[in-house]
Amino acid sequence: MSITLFIEQVLNGLQFGFMLFLMSAGLTLVFGVMGLINLAHGSFYMIGAFAAAAIASWTGSFWLGLLASLMAAAIAGALVEMVVIRRLYKRDHLDQVLATFALILLFSEATRWLFGAFPLYLDVPAILSGSLTLPMGIVYSKYRLFIIIVGILIAIGLFLLISKTRLGVRIRAGESDREMIAALGVNISKLYTIVFALGAALAGLAGALIGSIQSVEVGMGEPVLILAFVVIVIGGIGSIKGALIGALLVGLTDTLGRFLLPALFGAFLDPASATSIGSAIASMLIYILMAAVLIYRPSGLYGKMA
């Protein structure tokens, strides 16, 4: 194994991590502020991808598609918050699980109704297509570098939003004491709608960005949802910083595990069973990581102790 290949795989791991961060940032925000378990987060991811695919094929512009993904997911998020979600804040987690599970069924089937049962086309724009050569002769996809950059920008944007803006102050206040902030005259229900729409928009953007190099199809949100939950739990629920660290940790573990484990088993097994056993363990690896983190830190890496 060459050092270039290893570095390239580390880059891949980071890139996968930033993908995961895009999906989990909204989820952890909504949980931190409103205490809501939102299984339908994956649906916003799907809505974003479908909106981007539809608009991109209609206008021929990938960037308009990205804009559409943000808008569509934010609008869907705001509507869902006002019609369903806001009645669930005071309920226990179980009612939230049932209601948001029902939303998954509703959104998936509605999308299939609108767009049909076949996957949609969404490709990366010409300017980001192909790859470029990094130092040390590493050839790397432009679009994957683009995802890393978007991930970093969103992370910075969210830190600034929360620490520097008035909305951020309210969000932080809402996390620590709901009654107090309402008593201070902040329109809490409007704040919640905004936060929820923001979380949905981030998921929608992630759907469009990732859908372009993966696939845009009904049900694409569910595997992603589980991964996003793994990330925010490792990082500590409600913490944007935790989501970032958790996402990178999961991304690196998964990518390097997939790549190194079969090679490792290859040292003492025949190639066919080495790849088979190695990849079997690799597919369990992030769950092993998550269990290990929770056993040593029951509230995740950056979570508040209960």
């Binding site: 390239e8 795989q9 891949n12 088979s276």
Partner: protein, 378 residues
């Protein structure tokens, strides 16, 4: 085990005594995937089947959605057999669902015509006189890819598939015919959509060709990411990642890719021309290989009904075995384990106007049966 199976057959025959109101009529139970991920395949099989039986009063079809869940499929099979009292079952798309449903159904004296899945277990030791596969044995398309790789002169292939039984069968099928070396052999996680790590390994290897089996959305993701990576190696795979339903989603990244299939819309025979025209007229889209399989399944059934009544199981079975119907694939016959003997073609992805589709460029394997015939004691 055989003894117990016969006991089971006898026991269930007593419970479900079929009542035939009309000798000439056949009731078909179709269990297929109509909702959720992968429903495109089930919808195509159903539409192809329904197109062939349209206006035929002697066939009654009951369609149920298995949601791609094996336990639901088993329960629906019970419903079809016990409550609907169907004579023939068909429709299942996925091998794992077929493994769950078929053995029990055929042992209860029902006929099962497979329009898609062909797991090796049902072709070899688990073959059954009432089970007919109208599509292919699972390994077939992969074997043809291996054969094609030889004839094109590939010496060093990088091969990958998901880590589950059908994925292992795929790589085994390719290796059965491919005579060159392997630059790498990778099993990915089932459902995985990000292939950066695997593509990096391909780049680092000295492969001269890539073979992959990644059905559905996995294949779309892999092809797009491969195109982005700048790797310019010839790619060959089975038709499942390049069928009419998902080709548009892969986009231009698929152009020029060779894929193996027992059917293509440009096979020139009367039955196929009629099928392609009728399908487009009826549903307003191009047919896929799944639709052709559904259509052929229905026509096989109709041909058998013309010769024998379904209540005379032996005569009906012989009529099915004869495969006396005009297949969209041209020549079609059953081997002794009731799996097709047919040509497997190599197709190339091309563009007709704005629409991506396939064109036959070579024959991968001629009159191919399957590797499990000798294991079948029938």
């Amino acid at each position: 085990m055989l003894k117990k199976l016969t006991q089971l057959a006898a026991a269930t025959a007593m419970i479900t005594t079929p009542v035939f109101a009309d000798e000439a009529k056949v009731k078909v139970g179709m269990i297929t995937t109509l909702s959720g991920g992968g429903s495109g395949l089930g919808i195509d099989v159903r539409d192809g089947f329904m197109l062939a039986v349209k206006g035929n009063d002697s066939i009654e079809v009951v369609v149920e959605d298995d949601q791609r869940k094996p336990d639901i499929a088993v329960q629906l099979a019970d419903k079809m057999i016990q409550s609907e009292k169907v004579d023939v079952l068909t429709g299942i798309i996925w091998s794992n669902l077929a493994m769950a449903v078929v053995p029990a159904a055929v042992n209860q004296g029902k006929f099962y015509l497979s329009p898609n899945a062909g797991p090796s277990a049902l072709a070899g030791k688990g073959c059954h006189k009432n089970y007919f596969n109208v599509a292919w044995q699972n390994d077939n398309l992969h074997e043809a890819a291996g054969g094609y790789a030889n004839s094109t002169g590939y010496k060093n292939s990088f091969i990958l598939a998901p880590n589950y039984p059908a994925g292992k069968d795929a790589l085994t099928g390719y290796k059965r015919f491919f005579e060159g070396d392997l630059a790498g052999e990778v099993y990915t996680k089932l459902g995985q959509k990000d292939y950066a790590a695997e593509i990096a390994q391909i780049r680092a290897s000295d492969a001269d060709s890539i073979f992959f089996f990644l059905p559905g959305g996995m294949g779309i993701a892999f092809m797009k990411q491969l195109a982005q990576s700048g790797i310019d190696l010839p790619v060959v795979g089975p038709a499942f990642s390049f069928d009419q339903g998902i080709l548009q989603a892969v986009g231009d990244a698929a152009l020029g890719v060779k894929n193996t299939s027992q059917w293509s819309k440009d096979i020139d025979n009367a039955a196929n021309n009629k099928f392609v025209a009728d399908f487009q007229a009826e549903y307003g889209r191009l047919p896929s290989l799944y639709a052709s399989q559904g259509y052929d399944t229905a026509n096989l059934l109709i041909s058998a009904m013309d010769k024998a009544g379904v209540s005379d199981a032996d005569a009906f079975r012989a009529a099915l075995k004869a495969a006396d119907f005009a297949s969209t694939r041209g020549d079609f016959a059953f081997d002794k384990n009731h799996h097709p003997i047919q040509d497997i073609y190599v197709r190339e992805v091309i563009k007709e106007g704005d629409v991506l589709t396939n064109k036959i460029v070579a024959v991968g394997l001629e009159n191919r049966s399957n590797a499990y015939v000798d294991e079948c004691k029938m």
